[in-house]
Symmetry: C2
Subunit: 124 residues, 2 copies
Amino acid sequence: MKRRNTQPKKEILSALKSAHSALSHEMIQSEMKDQMDRATIYRVLNRFCEDGLVHRIVGDDGKQYFALCLQCEEKKHHHNHFHFRCLDCGTVECLDKEIQISLPAGYVPEHFNGLITGHCRRCS
Amino acid sequence: MKRRNTQPKKEILSALKSAHSALSHEMIQSEMKDQMDRATIYRVLNRFCEDGLVHRIVGDDGKQYFALCLQCEEKKHHHNHFHFRCLDCGTVECLDKEIQISLPAGYVPEHFNGLITGHCRRCS
DNA sequence: GTAACTGCAAAATATTTGCATCCTT
DNA sequence: AAGGATGCAAATATTTTGCAGTTAC
């Protein structure tokens, strides 16, 4: 299934690029000045994630955040790092440090999701 | 606000105890043989979490899982450990190892949520 | 007896899907 | 021209809330 480079995709990608931090669906929606259809945003983000272009972070608030995670692009493999969600300003950012987790024998990992919530430097 | 030890609370707690692994709302619902009101289950679980009796784990599937986490009771402080969700059988379990994350200066942590998905020993 | 709790219904929130149309390639 | 993508509406899923009646203490 070939992908097409459409207007909504360009806009969402550019929003993620300029944000340099993870954005929730809601945040993206408002960046688009509420001009864009919700279903489209969901579909585009899901597509991006499928294609490995974008990172899906599930917050402990149950909401999903999306990020380009430039670090991951460089390192390709092993993007086992944490994200930090600020309870005050809502920002979600990548933490640099890589984490190595040793699983018990027989366990096969597929995906890693690590999130810490608290107060970021600007808000604390 | 004083708490009362009601029938639904007893049943849910006993389900969590006998499970010895995290249960989603859905799983609890079916253990109750669908006799119990959904809203009640949500309210009881939220109350348990507020009181620190039960652990809320947000899966990378966006669903919430609840666990007694006996380990945590013993250690009281610092329950910074990972959970493992099996993509095949749906089980969510605690991983023993404690994680120490060093945050950048100025960041104040409040809550930790670490989850790895993959295939557990029985399913892999 | 009283305040907390339950059960039901309805609301609020979050995400997906069917379908006709549009637009990229 | 072909078929992937959008936009709209409706469906689905998840969680919360208002309220009247119930129950633990």
